[in-house]
Structures are given as structure tokens and as C-alpha cells.
């Protein structure tokens, strides 16, 4: 057991910290879930990309620096420690990219990944539909084969698409075999949202930002080159992405350690309320627990053990921790909790954002079923 980082890793941490200290925008950018804020965030993403910090764990040829998983965790710790902006590119770089690395052709990788890294193309996830939420296999949007032009024609509706109103591209699942049911006969497509037949309507989220969208597709042409993986094998391809979404790549410990530290600052600034002290400590310990569980998992990943259903435990833990951290901040703020302006207004906004965590990426009820059935081996029915 060796709990120290190497000299090279410490050098990398110092480089990240120094760059972020100079470059993180002050004051903080407006919310990336509004049109103006999204544009401001893309400038930030461009700056990260030019410093080769946008996608540190990717190969150099696609804009990364071949960083190890440890270095990626270090980058994330420093990123959130510095109070750097949310990543409006995250659904591309953390959810789609791992799938493209695994299933994409060399042509797809070369075409999609560099523009994703630079923020020139931004990706949203087209999974949920009006009648397919937790039950993803119930999707009804269709892909019809068009042999004459070598491609597919997509029709249907996607919904709750995060930042769909601002992104240039969508990745999603469509039913390509009309005779197949449930998770059979689905295909994973990469869709340019500027294509003819696409209509996007922004939807205001709980926090008042236009962070959701409905995406309507009416006979939208997608070339064979934009099928990810094999046709009709989309479920298996998509499941690779769910592992990323639930597990550590979307929500690294750095985020919660930084929130816990800000909570401690808030606790002091509000006069060290002794009645809330114990909860502040408990929240901090939970953030530490998440960090060390991640180190445990990453050690195994580095040694070739692939995380399976265990990622569901991670998703439940961080999403509920995030809610607890923000609830506690609101309790510390007392009558000021409802305020949206001033130094502390971000806590309510953060609370509203945290409340989405137990719902997206598979509700925590579904995750607990997965844990019971696939980690503990309890009967499905």
C-alpha cells in the first residue's frame, strides 16, 4: 500500500494549480445553462483546450496529454479547488468520448474527438423520451433504413436533454429494428442538430435556466458514418456510457471536497453555530470517504479490473452527498437561504442543481435495484 503521489504527479498538480490560479475567471461566469452563459463557458473551454487541460486523460493526438487516471483525479481536485467553472462540455467529454474510444472507428475518433475537446462541437445526450425515463429500453424514436443514400432517417422525440438548446450535436439511441422489443434492435447515432428536420425547444428547469430541451426529429438523415458501433447493438454501446455517467468520470471527488471546504468557510462566516457543527464534520468526512473509495477503485482500474454494477453505489453516494452538503449550507444560511443574490446566492442554485443528481443518470431507486440484484445477487422478481 502506497498512499503517496509520485514526484511527477506532484509536479503535474503544481502546474495545474498555478495555471488555474491565474486563469480561472473572476468573478464567476454566469450559469452555463443559459445561452449567454453557455457562450462565455465555451471561451473558457477554449482556454483550457489551448493549455492542454481540457481533456488531460485523452491521447495527445485528440487534444489530451495521455494523463493517467491518477493525474486526471489530481486535475479534477485542482479544478474544483480553484473554483473553476462547470464544464458545459462534460456530457461529450465524459459520457460520449469513452464510448467513442471503445466503439468508434478511427475515422470517427479523428473527426469527432478533437472538435469535442476544443468546444467547437458540443454534445448533448439524447436518451430520455416522454415515455422512456428510468425505463430506457422503452424508447420509441425510430431509425428507418434508407439504402438509396447509405444512411438512416430518424423520427421521434427526445426530452430532458441537458443543454440541448445550445449544443451542436446529439448522441442518442433509436429503435432501428421495428420488430425487436426492449433493448434489442436499438442503434446508437451521432446527430448534427443543424440537420434538416430537427427542432429544438428549450425547457426551463427548476432553477429557472433553460438547461433542458426537447428535441423533435422529423425524418432526419444520418449517414452510416455516424452510427456508433454496429446497427442494432446500441444497447450494449449505450451501457458502456452509463458506467461513465454513474461512476467516477462524471463526478470526481474533487467537486465534493471543494464543496465541503466551502461549507466549512460558510460555517465560520456564519459564526460557528454549535448546533450545526457535527453535521459539518459529518459532511466533510463523507467527502473524504468518497475520495478514498475512488482511490480504491482507481487502483483496481489501473490494474485492469473494470468496474461493473459497483458504479451504482458510487452514483447513489455522490448524488445524496451533494444534496446533504447543500441542505446543510441552506441551514447555515437560515433566513438568507432563499436569497439568490449576494455572496451566498450560489448555494440555493447549487441546491437546485444537486436535487437533480438522485434523478438523472438512472434514478437512485433504479440504482438501488441494480446494487441489490447485481452486487448482492438478490432475485430480480
Amino acid at each position: 500500500m502506497d498512499l503517496s503521489f509520485s514526484p511527477e504527479e506532484n509536479t503535474f498538480r503544481a502546474e495545474c494549480r498555478a495555471w488555474l490560479e491565474v486563469n480561472v475567471p473572476r468573478p464567476a461566469l454566469p450559469s452555463g445553462d443559459t445561452r449567454a452563459g453557455f457562450t462565455a463557458h465555451l471561451e473558457w473551454e477554449r482556454a483550457l483546450f489551448e493549455a492542454r487541460l481540457a481533456v488531460v486523460s485523452w491521447p495527445q493526438e485528440f487534444g489530451g496529454r495521455d494523463a493517467s487516471l491518477w493525474e486526471w483525479l489530481i486535475f479534477e481536485e485542482e479544478y474544483y479547488r480553484a473554483g473553476a467553472p462547470q464544464r458545459v462540455t462534460q456530457n461529450g467529454i465524459f459520457l460520449l468520448a469513452p464510448t467513442i474510444f471503445e466503439f468508434g472507428t478511427p475515422e470517427q475518433q479523428a473527426r469527432v474527438l478533437p472538435k469535442m475537446a476544443s468546444g467547437e462541437q458540443t454534445w448533448c445526450q439524447g436518451w430520455s423520451e416522454p415515455n422512456a425515463g428510468s425505463d430506457l429500453a422503452a424508447i420509441q424514436s425510430r431509425a428507418a433504413r434508407d439504402d438509396a443514400v447509405g444512411g438512416w432517417r430518424l423520427s421521434g422525440q427526445k426530452t430532458w436533454t441537458t443543454r440541448g438548446a445550445f449544443c451542436t450535436h446529439l448522441f442518442g439511441l433509436f429503435r432501428s429494428d421495428p420488430d425487436a422489443e426492449r433493448h434489442h434492435g436499438l442503434t446508437y447515432f451521432l446527430v448534427d442538430l443543424a440537420s434538416a428536420g430537427v427542432t429544438v425547444r428549450g425547457v426551463e428547469r427548476l432553477d429557472g435556466d433553460e438547461g433542458f430541451a426537447e428535441v423533435f426529429l422529423d425524418d432526419v438523415f444520418v449517414a452510416d458514418a455516424d452510427v456508433l458501433g454496429e446497427p442494432n447493438q446500441g444497447w450494449a454501446v449505450a451501457m458502456a456510457t452509463t458506467g461513465s455517467e454513474r461512476g467516477l468520470t462524471l463526478r470526481s471527488p474533487g467537486r465534493f471536497l471543494a464543496t465541503a471546504q466551502r461549507l466549512i468557510d460558510l460555517y465560520h462566516s456564519r459564526g460557528d453555530d454549535p448546533q450545526l457543527r457535527d453535521r459539518v464534520v459529518a459532511a466533510y468526512i463523507d467527502a473524504e470517504a468518497y475520495r478514498w473509495q475512488t482511490f480504491w477503485t482507481v487502483t483496481r482500474a489501473v490494474e485492469g479490473v473494470r468496474a461493473g454494477a459497483e458504479s451504482s453505489m458510487v452514483k447513489v453516494f455522490w448524488s445524496e452527498l451533494d444534496v446533504r452538503l447543500h441542505e446543510l449550507a441552506l441551514d447555515l444560511l437560515g433566513p438568507h437561504a432563499e436569497l439568490l443574490d449576494g455572496d451566498t446566492g450560489a448555494w440555493m442554485k447549487g441546491y437546485e442543481f444537486a436535487l437533480a443528481g438522485p434523478i438523472y443518470a438512472g434514478t437512485n431507486e433504479i440504482q438501488r435495484n441494480v446494487i441489490a440484484e447485481r452486487v448482492l445477487g438478490m432475485p430480480r422478481r
Binding site: 459539518v280 468526512i285 473509495q293 487502483t299 459497483e310 441489490a372 438478490m378 422478481r381
Partner: protein, 300 residues
């Protein structure tokens, strides 16, 4: 960074597990509830022969000269079988403190378990030789934990050495709590697969699944803190470990009892052996409040 055990450490753990699965069965633990000592006759000698008791002692003193990282996995096993032995007290607390492996040590902050069969007793007041103390027996909810008030004139002990020994015992107790949680969870998963109501296994009901999923999550996020604390021996890390391990064990005990229903509420069924140990350990070597306050003093 490599946050994992070595193959040797795992192999030693497996060997101890194999021994305990034979020598520390629920039947053995039940026997300890009613016998004279609260311990399993012969088990201490077997653990000593395997080198478990003296793991942290120098080789020259008959030990294996290993570390708390090696020992923590073994102590987790002793929790898993609810071994009624002062193993944390001796192997983690006493052996490095006394720098010898041939004396059985009993210790606690207040009420001392198995003090009557130990050679040396250490409390916050100091150190006692067994033949120079008066022991007043008090009943524990865990019938195998023979508890005593210790009266007498203690010899002074070095405060720093005691503090370090206490932190090792905190980590060791946390490891036992993880083992107990694992045992209760395993028993309950098996039971809910077998037990049928409304024509189906009760383990197919979401309400039951979610209780046990919560227990599994708590254990998942407690264990790494325990292993980290074993490696650093930092008092604050030890406190984080104990608090989260206690929480996991207590939550699992509640879930296990609830998912078993009435059978788990009987003493004929084995669950209570493990549940009661977890209740006792959660409040010994410092409870959650004490440990959170130690962490608070460091971070706030």
C-alpha cells in the same frame, strides 16, 4: 499511489478466515456466551501459533514485525466471525505498547472486556497487572463480552504511547465493525433469497432490496477510510474510520433485523450474536460523537 493490499496480505487474511470459519462458528460464539471466560477455548493459542497475536511485535520478541496494514485485514475477519477474544486489545493496542507478544492485554476507556483473562489491563487511569486489581463484573448485552470495572492502583504509562495505542485500537475496532457489517449483510441476503412470502422470495421486493443496498453502500464507503487509517495511523484518519464503520455496522444491523422479520428477533437465530457485538463496539473505543469531535477539532 497504490491503494490496495498485496497478494501476501490477502493470502494471510484468507488463511485466518479459513481458521476462523472452522474455529469460530456461531456455535462456538454461543458457547462463549455461557462458559466461564466468554472466550473460545483453544482459539487464542491457534491465533498465536499463526502469528496473528504478535503480528506487530519485533521478530526478536517473537513477532512478525508487520504493520497495521497487514493486521487490519485480519481484524476485519475477527469481526466477521464475532470472535470473542481481546484481539484488538492485544494485537493492535497492547503488543506495540508493551513491545512484547506474550501477554494478553485487555483495555477500554471505561468498562474493560475480558479483563479477567488478560495478563495486563490498561485504562485511561494507567496500567494494572491482573493479580493487583479488583474486578467487578458487569453484564454486557453481548453475552460473550465479559465486562469489568477495574479498581486498584495503576502504574503510570507514557501518555503519547497510550494515545498511539488507542488510535490503533480505534482502527482495529473499525475494521471489526466492517467485518460484522459484511457478515450481517451476507446472512440477510441469503435469508431474503430463501424466505418466501406472497409466493415469491422476499428479496425480490424493492423495499427489502433498498434496505440492503443502503447497507452495502455504507460499507463500500467505510472500508477505504479504515484501510487508509491503518496505513497512516493518523488520529484524525482513525476517527473518520471509526465513525463511518460504526455507522455502516449499525445501519446494517437495523436493516438485517428488519429484513429477517421475527426470526431475527429470536436468540435461537444467529443474527443477534453479530448485531449485539456491533452495538457494543459502536460505543467503545470512542463513539461517533467523540470521533466526529476529534475530526472537527482538526478541520474547523
Amino acid at each position: 499511489m497504490r491503494f490496495a493490499f498485496t497478494d501476501d496480505q490477502i493470502a494471510f487474511r484468507d488463511a485466518v478466515r479459513e481458521l476462523l470459519e472452522k474455529e469460530c462458528t456461531p456455535a462456538h460464539v454461543r458457547e462463549a456466551w455461557t462458559n466461564a471466560t466468554g472466550r473460545i477455548p483453544g482459539l487464542w493459542e491457534k491465533l498465536t501459533d499463526m502469528g496473528v497475536v504478535g503480528m506487530l511485535a519485533p521478530e526478536a520478541r517473537g513477532g512478525l514485525e508487520l504493520t497495521m496494514v497487514d493486521l487490519v485485514l485480519i481484524l476485519e475477519e475477527t469481526g466477521r466471525c464475532a470472535a470473542p477474544e481481546p484481539i484488538v486489545e492485544t494485537a493492535a493496542f497492547g503488543v506495540p505498547l508493551l513491545e512484547r507478544a506474550d501477554r494478553t492485554v485487555a483495555t477500554a476507556r471505561t468498562l474493560v472486556p475480558w479483563a479477567d483473562t488478560a495478563d495486563v489491563i490498561v485504562t485511561e487511569a494507567g496500567r494494572f497487572e491482573r493479580d493487583a486489581v479488583e474486578l467487578v463484573a458487569r453484564p454486557s448485552v453481548d453475552g460473550a463480552r465479559r465486562l469489568f470495572e477495574v479498581r486498584g492502583t495503576p502504574a503510570p504509562v507514557d501518555g503519547d504511547a497510550i494515545a498511539a495505542a488507542f488510535d490503533r485500537a480505534v482502527v482495529g475496532t473499525a475494521a471489526q465493525q466492517c467485518g460484522l457489517a459484511q457478515r450481517m449483510l451476507d446472512m440477510t441476503v441469503e435469508y431474503t433469497k430463501e424466505r418466501r412470502q406472497f409466493g415469491v422470495p422476499i428479496g425480490s421486493f424493492q423495499a427489502v432490496k433498498h434496505h440492503l443496498a443502503n447497507a452495502r453502500i455504507a460499507l463500500e464507503f467505510a472500508r477505504p477510510l479504515v484501510y487508509r487509517a491503518a496505513a497512516t495511523l493518523d488520529p484524525v484518519h482513525a476517527s473518520m474510520a471509526k465513525y463511518k464503520a460504526d455507522e455502516a455496522a449499525l445501519m446494517t444491523a437495523r436493516a438485517a433485523l428488519q429484513c429477517h422479520g421475527a426470526i431475527g428477533y429470536t436468540t435461537e437465530y444467529d443474527l443477534h450474536l453479530y448485531m449485539k457485538r456491533s452495538w457494543a463496539l459502536a460505543r467503545s473505543m470512542g463513539d461517533g460523537r467523540l470521533h466526529r469531535s476529534r475530526v472537527g477539532a482538526a478541520i474547523l
